[in-house]
Amino acid sequence: MNYRRQLEQLYEAVTGRAAADMHLFKAARGNVLTLPRRLNIYADGYGERLRAAVAADYPALAAFMGAGAFNAVVDVYVAATPSRHWDLNLYPIGLPDLVSPGPAKDLATLEAAIVAVFWAADSAPLTPTDLTGIDEAAFAQMPLDLRTASRLLRFEAAPNAYLTAHRSGAAAMMGVGPEHLLIVRHDHEVHRHALEPLEYDVLTRLSQGQNLTEAIATEAAAEHLPHWLGRWLTDGFFNQS
C-alpha cells in the first residue's frame, strides 16, 4: 500500500464514501476504543463541521423553513457537495440550488449573495472626485462596472424585508415582491440597497456592458438619473476603472 493510497483510504472513510480497510490502521493497544469508533470520530466531525458552516450562513432561511425542513436540505447539500477549496467560508454558497423555487429559494439566494459579496475580492469605488474634469459627453460614453464585491438581484417574493425583520428580532413574515436589490460591499461592510424597478433595469444594462447613454433607454430613466447617480457614487456602486 503506497502513501497516497493510505491517505485516500482514510479520506474516504472520514467523508463516509467508503469503508476503510481496517488493516491499514493500528489496532487499539489496551484501549477499549475500537477502530470503527476511532474513524467515526473523524466522520462525525466532518458532517458536523460542514453542516455548521452552512447553517451559520442561512439563519433567516432556517427560521423561514423551520428547523426540520432546513436541516433536511442542509443534510442533502452536505452529502452531495464535497468541499473543493481550502476556504470553508465558500462552501455554503451553493445551497440555494437545492431549494425549490419560491420564497424560500429567494431568501436562500439573498443570504448566499451576502456571503459571496462579503468574501469577494476588493476593488476601489468610483467616487465623485474621479469624475472631476470629465465632461458630460465623455461621461455618457463611460462604461460603469458594478463593484467586484456586488450582486444585482431581483426576487418575486420579498426576502429582503423578511431578512431585515428577522435580524431585528421582529416577527418576520414573507411578503409579496417583487424586490430589486444591489448587495454591495463598500467601506468594508455589506450593504443591501433596495432599488426602484427602473433603476434595476438601468444597472442591469450597465452590468451587461452598455454605457450610460445606451442604458438610459427611457425618458423616465433620464429624469431619475441625477438622483440615482448621486446615490450610486456615494454608496460605492461602481468600480474605479
Binding site: 503506497n2 502513501y3 497516497r4 493510505q6 491517505l7 485516500e8 482514510l10 479520506y11 472520514v14 467523508t15 488493516h23 491499514l24 490502521f25 493500528k26 489496532a27 487499539a28 493497544r29 489496551g30 484501549n31 477499549v32 476504543l33 477502530l35 476511532r38 474513524l39 470520530i41 473523524y42 466531525g45 466532518y46 463541521r49 460542514l50 464535497p82 468541499s83 473543493r84 477549496h85 481550502w86 476556504d87 470553508l88 467560508n89 462579503f118 468574501w119 476588493d122 464585491a149 460591499r185 467601506d187 468594508h188 461592510e189
Partner: protein
C-alpha cells in the same frame, strides 16, 4: 531573559475580542496568533485591523489549510497569499499542522493524520522546502490531536518531527494539549514524546482545553487547560526550556478576563 523568538505569552485573536484589543490594547497579552486562513482572502478592512494591532503586538500566523501531507500539488495561490500577509504583518513566524486536510481536490477541513514512514518523509521533505522557498521563511509545524494511527509506522510522531526538522530546518509548534490527547488516545507515553522532540526545533508551545469522553479525549479548545496538560507543560519546559506560549480557545469563547486569567496561570508557573 527571553530570547528574541520568545515572544512571551499570547492569545489567539478571535472575533468576540476584536473590540477589546482594538480599544484597550491589553498589556497582559504579549503577542497575538491569527488563523491565517480567516484573513488571507478577507477584505482590506481586516488587513487594516491587523496592521493596526501589529503596531502594539507581534503577530504569529497559524494556518489550517496548507495540507502539507497531501499528495495533491501545493496550492500556489494559497502560498502566495500567505506570504503576502506574512510580509505585510512582518509575522514573527508562520505555522500549520503536520497532517493532510484533503486529497484528489477535495477538502475535509480537518487535520487528518499521515503514516509516519520513510515514504512519507520522502514525500514531505521537498514539499516543506518548497513552502519555505515561497514564504522566504521557516515553516513551523504543529502536532495535531489524532484518533487513529496508520499501521506500519517506522517512526513515532515525535521521531518523525525530529527527522523533518533535521532534513528541512522546519520548526515545531509543540501543542502540549495535543500530545496529551493523542497519548491518551493511542496509549503513547506523553513524556517520552516530549523527550524525543529536538529542543532546537521548538518555536512555540500551545495550551488548550479538551473534552473527556471517557474512553477517548477530544480536542475541543472550548475549556480551561486541564491539570495533566499543565503538568506536561511544566515537564516540557524542564526538558526544553521556556518558549513563546499561546492559550488556544476557539469554541464557546469566554469573556476576555477568563483568557487573561489562563495567561496569568502560564506566567505564574
Amino acid at each position: 531573559m527571553m530570547s528574541s523568538s520568545h515572544l512571551g505569552y499570547g492569545l489567539g485573536l478571535r472575533r468576540p475580542h476584536y473590540g477589546h484589543f482594538l480599544n484597550e490594547r491589553p498589556r497582559s497579552v504579549d503577542w497575538l496568533e491569527i488563523i491565517s486562513d480567516n484573513y488571507i482572502r478577507a477584505h482590506a478592512g481586516y488587513h487594516d485591523m491587523l496592521c493596526d494591532l501589529r503596531t502594539d503586538y507581534p503577530i504569529v500566523m497559524h494556518g489550517v489549510g496548507l495540507s502539507i501531507g497531501t499528495t495533491d500539488a501545493l496550492d500556489g495561490d494559497y502560498l502566495s497569499a500567505l506570504k503576502g500577509l506574512a510580509d505585510k504583518l512582518e509575522a514573527a513566524w508562520v505555522s500549520d499542522h503536520l497532517c493532510f486536510t484533503g486529497i484528489n481536490g477535495q477538502n475535509s477541513h480537518d487535520l487528518l493524520p499521515i503514516p509516519y514512514t520513510e515514504e512519507a518523509l520522502k514525500h514531505l521533505i521537498p514539499r516543506i522546502h518548497q513552502v519555505q522557498a515561497v514564504l522566504g521563511r521557516e515553516l513551523v509545524l504543529e502536532n495535531a490531536s489524532t484518533y487513529v494511527e496508520f499501521d506500519g509506522a517506522s517512526l513515532s510522531e515525535a521521531e518523525f518531527f525530529a527527522e523533518l526538522h533535521a532534513r528541512t530546518g522546519c520548526g515545531i509548534l509543540l501543542d502540549i494539549n495535543n500530545v496529551h490527547v493523542s497519548s491518551f488516545n493511542h496509549g503513547w507515553d506523553a513524556r517520552a514524546y516530549i523527550d524525543a522532540v529536538p529542543s532546537a526545533a521548538i518555536k512555540q508551545y500551545h495550551l488548550a482545553g479538551h473534552t473527556d469522553h471517557g474512553d477517548y479525549l477530544f480536542d475541543t479548545h472550548n475549556a480551561p487547560v486541564a491539570d495533566p496538560v499543565w503538568a506536561l507543560y511544566d515537564y516540557a519546559r524542564s526538558v526544553h526550556g521556556d518558549r513563546a506560549t499561546l492559550i488556544e480557545w476557539d469554541a464557546d469563547i469566554p469573556a476576555f478576563e477568563v483568557l487573561e486569567a489562563e495567561l496569568d496561570k502560564v506566567r505564574a508557573r
